[in-house]
Protein backbone atom coordinates (compact mmCIF):
# COMPACT_ATOMS: atom_id res chain seq x y z
CA UNK A 1 0.00 0.00 0.00
CA UNK A 2 2.75 2.41 0.96
CA UNK A 3 4.26 2.49 -2.51
CA UNK A 4 1.09 4.06 -3.85
CA UNK A 5 1.53 7.17 -1.76
CA UNK A 6 3.06 9.92 -3.84
CA UNK A 7 6.66 10.48 -2.73
CA UNK A 8 6.14 14.25 -2.48
CA UNK A 9 3.41 13.91 0.15
CA UNK A 10 3.70 16.85 2.54
CA UNK A 11 5.32 15.70 5.76
CA UNK A 12 3.24 18.03 7.96
CA UNK A 13 -0.06 16.51 6.86
CA UNK A 14 1.09 13.04 7.88
CA UNK A 15 2.50 14.27 11.19
CA UNK A 16 -0.85 15.72 12.35
CA UNK A 17 -2.48 12.35 11.69
CA UNK A 18 0.42 10.40 13.12
CA UNK A 19 -1.67 8.79 15.89
CA UNK A 20 -4.06 7.29 13.35
CA UNK A 21 -3.18 5.26 10.29
CA UNK A 22 -4.56 6.87 7.16
CA UNK A 23 -6.85 5.30 4.60
CA UNK A 24 -6.29 5.57 0.89
CA UNK A 25 -9.42 6.45 -1.06
CA UNK A 26 -10.06 7.54 -4.63
CA UNK A 27 -12.20 10.48 -5.68
CA UNK A 28 -14.86 8.89 -7.84
CA UNK A 29 -17.70 11.32 -8.52
CA UNK A 30 -17.60 15.12 -8.57
CA UNK A 31 -20.12 16.60 -6.14
CA UNK A 32 -22.13 18.21 -8.97
CA UNK A 33 -22.41 14.80 -10.63
CA UNK A 34 -23.64 13.29 -7.34
CA UNK A 35 -26.16 16.06 -6.74
CA UNK A 36 -27.58 15.89 -10.23
CA UNK A 37 -27.66 12.09 -10.05
CA UNK A 38 -29.94 12.10 -7.03
CA UNK A 39 -31.99 15.08 -8.18
CA UNK A 40 -32.77 13.06 -11.29
CA UNK A 41 -34.72 10.56 -9.20
CA UNK A 42 -37.66 12.84 -8.27
CA UNK A 43 -37.42 14.85 -11.50
CA UNK A 44 -37.53 11.84 -13.84
CA UNK A 45 -40.22 10.21 -11.74
CA UNK A 46 -42.27 13.42 -12.00
CA UNK A 47 -41.67 13.63 -15.75
CA UNK A 48 -42.64 10.01 -16.41
CA UNK A 49 -45.73 9.98 -14.19
CA UNK A 50 -47.03 13.32 -15.50
CA UNK A 51 -46.00 12.32 -19.03
CA UNK A 52 -48.17 9.19 -19.01
CA UNK A 53 -51.04 11.32 -17.67
CA UNK A 54 -50.55 13.65 -20.65
CA UNK A 55 -50.39 10.63 -22.97
CA UNK A 56 -53.89 9.68 -21.75
CA UNK A 57 -55.37 12.83 -23.36
CA UNK A 58 -54.26 11.77 -26.83
CA UNK A 59 -52.61 8.34 -26.99
CA UNK A 60 -50.13 7.75 -29.79
CA UNK A 61 -51.14 4.12 -30.11
CA UNK A 62 -54.79 3.94 -31.07
CA UNK A 63 -56.96 1.60 -33.13
CA UNK A 64 -60.43 1.80 -34.67
CA UNK A 65 -63.14 2.29 -32.03
CA UNK A 66 -64.14 -0.91 -30.26
CA UNK A 67 -67.76 -1.74 -31.31
CA UNK A 68 -68.85 -2.28 -27.70
CA UNK A 69 -66.96 0.27 -25.63
CA UNK A 70 -65.90 2.78 -28.28
CA UNK A 71 -62.40 2.57 -26.86
CA UNK A 72 -59.50 3.39 -29.18
CA UNK A 73 -56.57 3.45 -26.74
CA UNK A 74 -54.14 0.53 -26.71
CA UNK A 75 -53.11 1.40 -23.13
CA UNK A 76 -56.77 1.08 -22.10
CA UNK A 77 -56.88 -2.35 -23.80
CA UNK A 78 -53.91 -3.45 -21.72
CA UNK A 79 -55.70 -2.25 -18.58
CA UNK A 80 -58.82 -4.19 -19.56
CA UNK A 81 -56.71 -7.30 -20.20
CA UNK A 82 -54.98 -6.97 -16.83
CA UNK A 83 -58.29 -6.64 -15.01
CA UNK A 84 -59.60 -9.73 -16.80
CA UNK A 85 -56.56 -11.95 -16.29
CA UNK A 86 -54.56 -10.80 -13.27
CA UNK A 87 -55.76 -12.29 -9.99
CA UNK A 88 -57.11 -9.72 -7.56
CA UNK A 89 -57.96 -7.18 -10.27
CA UNK A 90 -61.26 -8.71 -11.43
CA UNK A 91 -63.38 -6.20 -9.56
CA UNK A 92 -61.40 -3.14 -10.52
CA UNK A 93 -63.87 -0.29 -11.01
CA UNK A 94 -62.56 1.19 -14.28
CA UNK A 95 -60.42 -1.29 -16.24
CA UNK A 96 -59.63 1.14 -19.11
CA UNK A 97 -58.01 3.47 -16.57
CA UNK A 98 -55.97 0.72 -14.90
CA UNK A 99 -52.70 1.69 -16.62
CA UNK A 100 -53.23 5.39 -15.94
CA UNK A 101 -54.25 4.81 -12.34
CA UNK A 102 -51.20 2.64 -11.66
CA UNK A 103 -48.51 4.13 -13.88
CA UNK A 104 -49.26 7.83 -14.01
CA UNK A 105 -50.61 10.63 -11.85
CA UNK A 106 -54.03 9.64 -13.15
CA UNK A 107 -56.40 10.16 -16.07
CA UNK A 108 -58.49 13.27 -16.69
CA UNK A 109 -56.25 15.94 -15.17
CA UNK A 110 -54.49 17.34 -18.24
CA UNK A 111 -54.20 20.99 -17.15
CA UNK A 112 -52.57 20.07 -13.86
CA UNK A 113 -50.19 17.44 -15.23
CA UNK A 114 -49.06 19.71 -18.06
CA UNK A 115 -48.00 22.29 -15.49
CA UNK A 116 -46.18 19.62 -13.47
CA UNK A 117 -44.53 18.23 -16.60
CA UNK A 118 -43.20 21.65 -17.62
CA UNK A 119 -42.03 22.42 -14.11
CA UNK A 120 -40.13 19.10 -14.03
CA UNK A 121 -38.89 19.65 -17.59
CA UNK A 122 -37.27 22.99 -16.71
CA UNK A 123 -35.74 21.39 -13.61
CA UNK A 124 -34.53 18.48 -15.76
CA UNK A 125 -32.78 20.87 -18.15
CA UNK A 126 -31.17 22.80 -15.28
CA UNK A 127 -30.13 19.54 -13.67
CA UNK A 128 -28.63 18.35 -16.95
CA UNK A 129 -26.47 21.47 -17.01
CA UNK A 130 -25.36 20.79 -13.43
CA UNK A 131 -24.45 17.23 -14.47
CA UNK A 132 -22.45 18.38 -17.49
CA UNK A 133 -20.67 21.00 -15.34
CA UNK A 134 -19.78 18.24 -12.87
CA UNK A 135 -18.51 15.98 -15.66
CA UNK A 136 -16.32 18.78 -17.03
CA UNK A 137 -15.01 20.03 -13.69
CA UNK A 138 -14.34 16.55 -12.35
CA UNK A 139 -13.00 15.22 -15.66
CA UNK A 140 -15.51 12.36 -15.45
CA UNK A 141 -16.61 12.80 -19.06
CA UNK A 142 -13.47 10.97 -20.21
CA UNK A 143 -14.65 7.81 -18.48
CA UNK A 144 -17.88 7.87 -20.54
CA UNK A 145 -16.30 8.10 -23.98
CA UNK A 146 -16.62 4.97 -26.13
CA UNK A 147 -13.41 3.17 -27.12
CA UNK A 148 -12.36 0.91 -29.95
CA UNK A 149 -12.28 -2.14 -27.70
CA UNK A 150 -15.83 -1.55 -26.38
CA UNK A 151 -17.63 -4.04 -28.59
CA UNK A 152 -15.38 -6.93 -27.62
CA UNK A 153 -15.38 -5.88 -23.94
CA UNK A 154 -19.16 -5.54 -23.93
CA UNK A 155 -19.48 -9.10 -25.25
CA UNK A 156 -17.07 -10.30 -22.54
CA UNK A 157 -19.22 -8.59 -19.91
CA UNK A 158 -22.41 -10.04 -21.38
CA UNK A 159 -20.86 -13.50 -21.25
CA UNK A 160 -19.99 -12.87 -17.60
CA UNK A 161 -23.54 -11.77 -16.70
CA UNK A 162 -25.17 -14.60 -18.66
CA UNK A 163 -22.95 -17.24 -17.08
CA UNK A 164 -23.10 -15.76 -13.57
CA UNK A 165 -26.12 -17.67 -12.24
CA UNK A 166 -25.16 -20.95 -13.92
CA UNK A 167 -21.73 -20.72 -12.35
CA UNK A 168 -23.30 -19.97 -8.95
CA UNK A 169 -25.63 -22.94 -9.28
CA UNK A 170 -22.77 -25.21 -10.32
CA UNK A 171 -20.66 -23.71 -7.48
CA UNK A 172 -17.97 -22.95 -9.97
CA UNK A 173 -15.65 -20.02 -9.76
CA UNK A 174 -16.78 -17.27 -12.15
CA UNK A 175 -14.39 -14.36 -12.29
CA UNK A 176 -15.43 -10.83 -13.16
CA UNK A 177 -13.56 -9.70 -16.30
CA UNK A 178 -10.61 -7.49 -15.46
CA UNK A 179 -11.05 -3.85 -16.39
CA UNK A 180 -8.48 -1.12 -15.93
CA UNK A 181 -10.95 1.71 -16.52
CA UNK A 182 -13.46 3.37 -14.21
CA UNK A 183 -16.35 1.59 -15.93
CA UNK A 184 -16.56 -1.56 -17.99
CA UNK A 185 -17.76 -1.32 -21.58
CA UNK A 186 -21.39 -2.11 -20.74
CA UNK A 187 -21.48 0.42 -17.93
CA UNK A 188 -19.92 3.02 -20.16
CA UNK A 189 -22.53 2.48 -22.86
CA UNK A 190 -25.34 2.61 -20.29
CA UNK A 191 -24.03 5.70 -18.50
CA UNK A 192 -23.45 7.53 -21.77
CA UNK A 193 -26.89 6.58 -23.09
CA UNK A 194 -28.60 8.51 -20.29
CA UNK A 195 -27.19 11.99 -21.06
CA UNK A 196 -27.72 11.28 -24.77
CA UNK A 197 -31.33 10.24 -24.11
CA UNK A 198 -31.71 13.32 -21.89
CA UNK A 199 -30.58 15.56 -24.72
CA UNK A 200 -32.95 13.84 -27.17
CA UNK A 201 -35.84 13.99 -24.69
CA UNK A 202 -35.30 17.72 -24.28
CA UNK A 203 -35.04 18.23 -28.05
CA UNK A 204 -38.16 16.19 -28.84
CA UNK A 205 -39.95 17.83 -25.91
CA UNK A 206 -39.28 21.30 -27.32
CA UNK A 207 -40.30 20.08 -30.78
CA UNK A 208 -43.69 19.03 -29.35
CA UNK A 209 -44.05 22.03 -27.07
CA UNK A 210 -43.21 24.66 -29.71
CA UNK A 211 -43.92 22.99 -33.07
CA UNK A 212 -44.35 26.34 -34.84
CA UNK A 213 -41.57 28.57 -33.49
CA UNK A 214 -39.14 25.62 -33.41
CA UNK A 215 -40.51 23.80 -36.46
CA UNK A 216 -36.95 23.16 -37.71
CA UNK A 217 -36.41 21.05 -34.60
CA UNK A 218 -39.47 18.90 -35.33
CA UNK A 219 -38.34 18.68 -38.97
CA UNK A 220 -34.95 17.34 -37.82
CA UNK A 221 -36.71 14.54 -35.98
CA UNK A 222 -39.11 13.80 -38.83
CA UNK A 223 -42.04 16.05 -38.00
CA UNK A 224 -44.38 16.79 -35.13
CA UNK A 225 -45.97 13.33 -34.91
CA UNK A 226 -42.64 11.60 -35.13
CA UNK A 227 -41.30 13.84 -32.31
CA UNK A 228 -44.18 12.62 -30.12
CA UNK A 229 -43.32 8.99 -30.85
CA UNK A 230 -39.64 9.59 -30.10
CA UNK A 231 -40.47 11.45 -26.90
CA UNK A 232 -42.61 8.50 -25.77
CA UNK A 233 -40.01 5.82 -26.48
CA UNK A 234 -37.18 7.85 -24.96
CA UNK A 235 -39.05 7.52 -21.68
CA UNK A 236 -38.50 3.77 -21.91
CA UNK A 237 -34.73 4.31 -22.10
CA UNK A 238 -34.82 5.65 -18.52
CA UNK A 239 -37.11 2.88 -17.31
CA UNK A 240 -35.02 0.15 -18.97
CA UNK A 241 -31.86 1.74 -17.59
CA UNK A 242 -33.05 2.14 -14.02
CA UNK A 243 -34.05 -1.49 -13.45
CA UNK A 244 -30.63 -3.15 -14.01
CA UNK A 245 -28.92 -0.03 -12.64
CA UNK A 246 -30.55 -0.43 -9.23
CA UNK A 247 -30.12 -4.23 -9.20
CA UNK A 248 -26.44 -4.01 -10.11
CA UNK A 249 -25.57 -1.27 -7.64
CA UNK A 250 -26.95 -3.41 -4.83
CA UNK A 251 -25.18 -6.47 -6.25
CA UNK A 252 -21.94 -4.54 -6.43
CA UNK A 253 -22.15 -3.48 -2.82
CA UNK A 254 -22.14 -0.69 -0.32
CA UNK A 255 -18.90 0.87 -1.46
CA UNK A 256 -20.31 1.67 -4.90
CA UNK A 257 -23.64 2.97 -3.60
CA UNK A 258 -21.89 5.07 -0.97
CA UNK A 259 -19.52 6.58 -3.53
CA UNK A 260 -22.49 8.26 -5.25
CA UNK A 261 -23.36 9.95 -1.94
CA UNK A 262 -19.93 10.77 -0.49
CA UNK A 263 -17.89 10.89 -3.69
CA UNK A 264 -15.01 8.63 -2.67
CA UNK A 265 -14.45 4.91 -2.85
CA UNK A 266 -12.05 2.64 -0.97
CA UNK A 267 -11.43 0.59 -4.11
CA UNK A 268 -8.04 1.91 -5.10
CA UNK A 269 -6.50 -1.00 -7.07
CA UNK A 270 -6.34 0.76 -10.39
CA UNK A 271 -5.02 4.02 -8.99
CA UNK A 272 -2.19 2.14 -7.34
CA UNK A 273 -1.08 0.83 -10.69
CA UNK A 274 -1.20 4.27 -12.21
CA UNK A 275 0.59 5.83 -9.26
CA UNK A 276 3.40 3.36 -9.89
CA UNK A 277 3.70 4.49 -13.45
CA UNK A 278 4.23 8.03 -12.27
Amino acid sequence: MSHSTPPDCEPNSTSTLSEQPTVLVVRKHHFLVRWSHWLNVPILLGLILSGISIYWASPIYQHKPDPNSGNTDVAADIGIWICAHVPGQHHYSSPPDWIYNHMSLGPGMLALVLRLHWLCAYLFMLNGMVYVAGLVRGGGWRSLLPRGTDLFDALTMLRYYLGFFFAKLARRQWLHPVSNTKYNALQRAAYLSIPVAGLLSVATGWAIHKPMQLHWLAALIGGYNSARVWHFWLMWVYILFVVPHVILVFADGWNTLRSMIVGWSTRVERSEVVANEQ
Partner: protein, 300 residues
Protein backbone atom coordinates in the same frame (compact mmCIF):
# COMPACT_ATOMS: atom_id res chain seq x y z
CA UNK B 1 30.76 27.93 -16.75
CA UNK B 2 27.68 30.01 -17.28
CA UNK B 3 26.05 27.42 -19.46
CA UNK B 4 26.81 24.66 -17.01
CA UNK B 5 25.51 26.71 -14.09
CA UNK B 6 22.27 27.53 -15.89
CA UNK B 7 21.79 23.92 -16.76
CA UNK B 8 22.51 22.67 -13.26
CA UNK B 9 20.33 24.92 -11.18
CA UNK B 10 16.97 24.12 -12.79
CA UNK B 11 17.75 20.43 -12.97
CA UNK B 12 18.14 20.18 -9.20
CA UNK B 13 15.26 22.45 -8.26
CA UNK B 14 12.55 21.82 -10.82
CA UNK B 15 13.07 18.12 -11.47
CA UNK B 16 10.12 16.84 -9.42
CA UNK B 17 7.78 19.25 -11.23
CA UNK B 18 9.06 18.54 -14.71
CA UNK B 19 8.79 14.79 -14.42
CA UNK B 20 4.99 14.40 -14.22
CA UNK B 21 4.61 16.85 -17.10
CA UNK B 22 6.76 14.67 -19.31
CA UNK B 23 4.54 11.71 -18.40
CA UNK B 24 1.31 13.58 -19.16
CA UNK B 25 2.42 15.03 -22.48
CA UNK B 26 1.90 12.01 -24.74
CA UNK B 27 -1.50 11.38 -23.12
CA UNK B 28 -4.42 12.20 -25.39
CA UNK B 29 -6.86 14.89 -24.22
CA UNK B 30 -9.66 12.35 -24.48
CA UNK B 31 -7.88 9.51 -22.68
CA UNK B 32 -9.32 8.48 -19.36
CA UNK B 33 -7.24 9.68 -16.39
CA UNK B 34 -6.66 7.57 -13.29
CA UNK B 35 -8.96 8.39 -10.39
CA UNK B 36 -7.12 10.72 -8.04
CA UNK B 37 -6.11 8.85 -4.88
CA UNK B 38 -6.08 10.71 -1.59
CA UNK B 39 -4.98 9.77 1.90
CA UNK B 40 -7.42 10.57 4.65
CA UNK B 41 -7.68 9.84 8.33
CA UNK B 42 -10.66 7.56 9.05
CA UNK B 43 -11.92 10.27 11.42
CA UNK B 44 -12.09 12.77 8.52
CA UNK B 45 -13.81 10.25 6.26
CA UNK B 46 -16.36 9.48 8.97
CA UNK B 47 -17.07 13.17 9.45
CA UNK B 48 -17.49 13.75 5.70
CA UNK B 49 -19.70 10.68 5.30
CA UNK B 50 -21.94 11.76 8.16
CA UNK B 51 -22.29 15.22 6.65
CA UNK B 52 -23.02 13.88 3.15
CA UNK B 53 -25.55 11.33 4.38
CA UNK B 54 -27.34 13.98 6.41
CA UNK B 55 -27.55 16.25 3.35
CA UNK B 56 -28.73 13.30 1.28
CA UNK B 57 -31.41 12.39 3.83
CA UNK B 58 -32.57 16.00 4.06
CA UNK B 59 -32.78 16.10 0.27
CA UNK B 60 -34.82 12.90 0.16
CA UNK B 61 -37.23 14.29 2.76
CA UNK B 62 -37.47 17.57 0.85
CA UNK B 63 -38.26 15.65 -2.37
CA UNK B 64 -41.00 13.68 -0.59
CA UNK B 65 -42.45 16.86 0.90
CA UNK B 66 -42.26 18.59 -2.50
CA UNK B 67 -44.05 15.65 -4.11
CA UNK B 68 -46.74 15.70 -1.46
CA UNK B 69 -47.12 19.44 -1.91
CA UNK B 70 -47.32 19.43 -5.71
CA UNK B 71 -49.07 16.19 -6.58
CA UNK B 72 -52.77 16.30 -7.50
CA UNK B 73 -55.20 15.49 -4.70
CA UNK B 74 -56.63 12.61 -6.76
CA UNK B 75 -53.21 10.99 -7.06
CA UNK B 76 -52.45 11.35 -3.36
CA UNK B 77 -55.77 9.90 -2.25
CA UNK B 78 -55.22 6.96 -4.61
CA UNK B 79 -52.04 6.06 -2.74
CA UNK B 80 -53.80 6.44 0.58
CA UNK B 81 -52.92 10.02 1.54
CA UNK B 82 -56.11 11.87 2.31
CA UNK B 83 -56.15 15.56 2.82
CA UNK B 84 -59.23 17.72 2.74
CA UNK B 85 -57.60 20.86 1.36
CA UNK B 86 -54.94 21.59 -1.19
CA UNK B 87 -52.12 23.65 0.31
CA UNK B 88 -52.73 27.34 -0.45
CA UNK B 89 -49.38 27.97 -2.12
CA UNK B 90 -49.71 25.12 -4.59
CA UNK B 91 -51.81 26.87 -7.22
CA UNK B 92 -49.68 29.98 -6.89
CA UNK B 93 -46.48 27.97 -7.34
CA UNK B 94 -47.72 26.00 -10.34
CA UNK B 95 -49.09 29.15 -11.96
CA UNK B 96 -45.74 30.82 -11.41
CA UNK B 97 -44.04 27.92 -13.20
CA UNK B 98 -46.63 28.18 -15.97
CA UNK B 99 -45.99 31.92 -16.30
CA UNK B 100 -42.28 31.23 -16.79
CA UNK B 101 -43.17 28.84 -19.59
CA UNK B 102 -45.49 31.47 -21.09
CA UNK B 103 -42.69 34.03 -20.96
CA UNK B 104 -40.40 31.60 -22.76
CA UNK B 105 -43.10 31.10 -25.41
CA UNK B 106 -43.44 34.86 -25.81
CA UNK B 107 -39.68 35.25 -26.27
CA UNK B 108 -39.71 32.49 -28.91
CA UNK B 109 -42.54 34.18 -30.84
CA UNK B 110 -41.59 36.15 -33.90
CA UNK B 111 -44.08 38.25 -35.84
CA UNK B 112 -42.27 37.54 -39.08
CA UNK B 113 -41.59 33.82 -38.70
CA UNK B 114 -44.08 31.85 -40.79
CA UNK B 115 -45.37 28.51 -39.64
CA UNK B 116 -44.81 25.59 -42.02
CA UNK B 117 -47.38 25.19 -44.78
CA UNK B 118 -48.31 21.92 -46.43
CA UNK B 119 -49.59 20.62 -49.76
CA UNK B 120 -53.16 19.47 -50.37
CA UNK B 121 -52.04 15.84 -50.39
CA UNK B 122 -50.87 16.25 -46.76
CA UNK B 123 -54.28 17.34 -45.46
CA UNK B 124 -55.57 15.15 -42.62
CA UNK B 125 -59.01 14.83 -41.10
CA UNK B 126 -60.01 17.33 -38.43
CA UNK B 127 -62.58 16.18 -35.91
CA UNK B 128 -65.29 18.38 -34.47
CA UNK B 129 -63.72 19.20 -31.15
CA UNK B 130 -66.44 21.36 -29.66
CA UNK B 131 -65.87 20.83 -25.95
CA UNK B 132 -69.60 20.78 -25.24
CA UNK B 133 -72.55 20.21 -27.53
CA UNK B 134 -72.37 21.47 -31.11
CA UNK B 135 -74.70 24.48 -31.44
CA UNK B 136 -77.87 24.33 -33.52
CA UNK B 137 -77.19 25.95 -36.94
CA UNK B 138 -80.12 28.34 -36.37
CA UNK B 139 -77.78 31.03 -35.15
CA UNK B 140 -76.04 31.38 -38.53
CA UNK B 141 -78.78 33.31 -40.36
CA UNK B 142 -78.78 36.16 -37.84
CA UNK B 143 -75.04 36.06 -37.21
CA UNK B 144 -73.09 39.29 -36.77
CA UNK B 145 -69.57 40.07 -35.68
CA UNK B 146 -69.40 42.92 -33.16
CA UNK B 147 -66.18 44.93 -32.75
CA UNK B 148 -65.60 46.93 -29.56
CA UNK B 149 -62.74 48.88 -28.02
CA UNK B 150 -62.04 50.65 -31.30
CA UNK B 151 -60.13 53.91 -31.73
CA UNK B 152 -63.36 55.49 -33.03
CA UNK B 153 -65.12 54.61 -29.79
CA UNK B 154 -67.91 53.06 -31.84
CA UNK B 155 -69.29 49.58 -31.72
CA UNK B 156 -69.25 48.04 -35.20
CA UNK B 157 -71.41 45.19 -36.43
CA UNK B 158 -70.44 43.25 -39.54
CA UNK B 159 -72.16 40.39 -41.31
CA UNK B 160 -70.36 37.73 -43.28
CA UNK B 161 -71.02 39.43 -46.64
CA UNK B 162 -69.43 42.69 -45.34
CA UNK B 163 -66.36 40.76 -44.34
CA UNK B 164 -66.00 38.75 -47.55
CA UNK B 165 -66.50 41.72 -49.87
CA UNK B 166 -64.43 44.29 -48.01
CA UNK B 167 -61.34 42.17 -47.38
CA UNK B 168 -59.09 40.12 -49.58
CA UNK B 169 -59.11 36.42 -48.77
CA UNK B 170 -56.02 34.32 -48.16
CA UNK B 171 -55.54 30.58 -48.26
CA UNK B 172 -53.22 28.47 -46.20
CA UNK B 173 -52.71 24.80 -45.39
CA UNK B 174 -51.39 24.71 -41.86
CA UNK B 175 -51.28 22.44 -38.85
CA UNK B 176 -53.65 22.95 -35.96
CA UNK B 177 -52.14 21.57 -32.73
CA UNK B 178 -54.33 20.64 -29.78
CA UNK B 179 -53.13 20.95 -26.19
CA UNK B 180 -54.00 17.24 -25.87
CA UNK B 181 -51.26 16.36 -28.33
CA UNK B 182 -53.09 15.51 -31.54
CA UNK B 183 -52.89 17.74 -34.56
CA UNK B 184 -54.48 18.09 -37.98
CA UNK B 185 -53.38 19.64 -41.25
CA UNK B 186 -56.21 21.56 -42.89
CA UNK B 187 -56.80 24.00 -45.71
CA UNK B 188 -58.22 27.29 -44.50
CA UNK B 189 -59.46 30.36 -46.33
CA UNK B 190 -60.29 33.68 -44.75
CA UNK B 191 -59.34 37.27 -44.16
CA UNK B 192 -56.30 38.31 -42.22
CA UNK B 193 -56.96 39.49 -38.68
CA UNK B 194 -54.30 42.10 -39.43
CA UNK B 195 -56.45 43.53 -42.26
CA UNK B 196 -59.43 43.80 -39.90
CA UNK B 197 -57.19 45.60 -37.37
CA UNK B 198 -56.11 48.05 -40.07
CA UNK B 199 -59.67 48.69 -41.28
CA UNK B 200 -61.05 49.11 -37.73
CA UNK B 201 -58.09 50.20 -35.63
CA UNK B 202 -58.30 49.43 -31.93
CA UNK B 203 -57.89 52.15 -29.31
CA UNK B 204 -54.28 53.26 -28.99
CA UNK B 205 -53.57 51.65 -25.63
CA UNK B 206 -55.01 48.27 -26.64
CA UNK B 207 -52.63 45.29 -26.33
CA UNK B 208 -55.17 42.50 -26.17
CA UNK B 209 -58.19 41.17 -27.95
CA UNK B 210 -60.93 39.25 -26.21
CA UNK B 211 -62.40 36.91 -28.79
CA UNK B 212 -65.80 35.56 -27.79
CA UNK B 213 -68.44 33.17 -29.01
CA UNK B 214 -71.87 33.56 -27.46
CA UNK B 215 -73.23 30.47 -29.25
CA UNK B 216 -70.92 28.02 -27.43
CA UNK B 217 -72.70 25.34 -25.43
CA UNK B 218 -71.70 23.15 -22.51
CA UNK B 219 -71.91 19.36 -22.59
CA UNK B 220 -75.62 19.33 -21.65
CA UNK B 221 -76.47 21.90 -24.34
CA UNK B 222 -76.84 24.97 -22.13
CA UNK B 223 -75.30 28.31 -23.21
CA UNK B 224 -71.65 28.47 -22.14
CA UNK B 225 -70.08 31.57 -23.75
CA UNK B 226 -66.49 31.02 -24.82
CA UNK B 227 -64.02 33.84 -24.30
CA UNK B 228 -60.36 33.81 -25.14
CA UNK B 229 -57.49 36.25 -24.71
CA UNK B 230 -55.26 36.97 -27.68
CA UNK B 231 -52.30 39.34 -27.66
CA UNK B 232 -52.44 41.80 -30.55
CA UNK B 233 -48.89 40.86 -31.63
CA UNK B 234 -50.20 37.40 -32.47
CA UNK B 235 -53.40 38.80 -34.01
CA UNK B 236 -51.20 40.76 -36.45
CA UNK B 237 -49.28 37.65 -37.57
CA UNK B 238 -49.77 37.22 -41.34
CA UNK B 239 -51.02 33.65 -40.85
CA UNK B 240 -53.62 34.58 -38.26
CA UNK B 241 -56.88 34.35 -40.19
CA UNK B 242 -60.53 34.96 -39.54
CA UNK B 243 -61.42 31.85 -41.47
CA UNK B 244 -64.60 31.51 -43.50
CA UNK B 245 -63.79 28.32 -45.43
CA UNK B 246 -62.45 24.90 -44.49
CA UNK B 247 -61.01 22.58 -47.15
CA UNK B 248 -62.49 24.78 -49.87
CA UNK B 249 -66.05 24.78 -48.49
CA UNK B 250 -67.78 27.40 -46.32
CA UNK B 251 -67.31 26.49 -42.65
CA UNK B 252 -69.77 23.93 -41.35
CA UNK B 253 -71.34 24.26 -37.91
CA UNK B 254 -68.82 21.67 -36.65
CA UNK B 255 -65.95 23.95 -37.54
CA UNK B 256 -67.43 27.22 -36.35
CA UNK B 257 -69.61 28.66 -39.15
CA UNK B 258 -69.62 31.31 -40.34
CA UNK B 259 -66.37 32.76 -38.96
CA UNK B 260 -63.72 31.24 -36.75
CA UNK B 261 -60.30 32.28 -35.61
CA UNK B 262 -57.40 30.40 -37.12
CA UNK B 263 -54.22 31.18 -35.25
CA UNK B 264 -51.69 28.45 -36.04
CA UNK B 265 -49.02 29.91 -33.70
CA UNK B 266 -51.35 29.13 -30.77
CA UNK B 267 -52.82 25.92 -29.41
CA UNK B 268 -56.12 24.79 -30.89
CA UNK B 269 -58.08 26.03 -27.87
CA UNK B 270 -57.32 29.63 -28.90
CA UNK B 271 -58.89 29.02 -32.33
CA UNK B 272 -62.36 30.21 -31.32
CA UNK B 273 -65.26 28.88 -33.41
CA UNK B 274 -68.30 30.96 -34.40
CA UNK B 275 -66.84 34.27 -33.20
CA UNK B 276 -69.55 36.77 -32.27
CA UNK B 277 -67.54 39.55 -30.64
CA UNK B 278 -64.01 40.93 -30.61
CA UNK B 279 -63.14 43.50 -27.91
CA UNK B 280 -59.82 45.33 -27.80
CA UNK B 281 -58.42 45.98 -24.34
CA UNK B 282 -55.37 47.43 -22.63
CA UNK B 283 -55.30 44.71 -19.99
CA UNK B 284 -55.25 40.95 -20.50
CA UNK B 285 -58.86 39.73 -20.60
CA UNK B 286 -60.28 36.53 -19.09
CA UNK B 287 -59.59 33.28 -20.85
CA UNK B 288 -61.92 30.26 -20.78
CA UNK B 289 -59.20 27.60 -20.58
CA UNK B 290 -56.78 29.63 -18.44
CA UNK B 291 -59.57 29.69 -15.84
CA UNK B 292 -59.58 25.89 -16.08
CA UNK B 293 -55.86 25.56 -15.32
CA UNK B 294 -54.31 25.83 -18.78
CA UNK B 295 -51.79 28.44 -19.88
CA UNK B 296 -52.80 32.03 -20.77
CA UNK B 297 -50.47 32.56 -23.66
CA UNK B 298 -50.52 29.14 -25.35
CA UNK B 299 -47.91 30.09 -27.94
CA UNK B 300 -46.52 27.10 -29.77
Amino acid sequence: MNNEGKGDIPSTRVEPEVKPVSVKKPQSFFRERPLPAIERAPRVLRYQSRRDFLVFGAGALAALAGGGFLLPQDTLSRIGIRRSLDPPGKEWFLNKALRIDDDVAEVLYSGTRRVPTYTKSQITSLKNNYNGATPDPGYISGWKLTLEGLASGLSISLDIRNLLTRFSVHEQITRLVCVEGWSAIAWWTGLRFDDLLRAYPPMSQAKWASVESSVNLDASGNPDPYFMSLDLATARHPQTLLATHFNGQPLSVDHGAPLRLLVPVKLGLKNVKAITRITYLAEEPRDYWAERGYSHYDGI
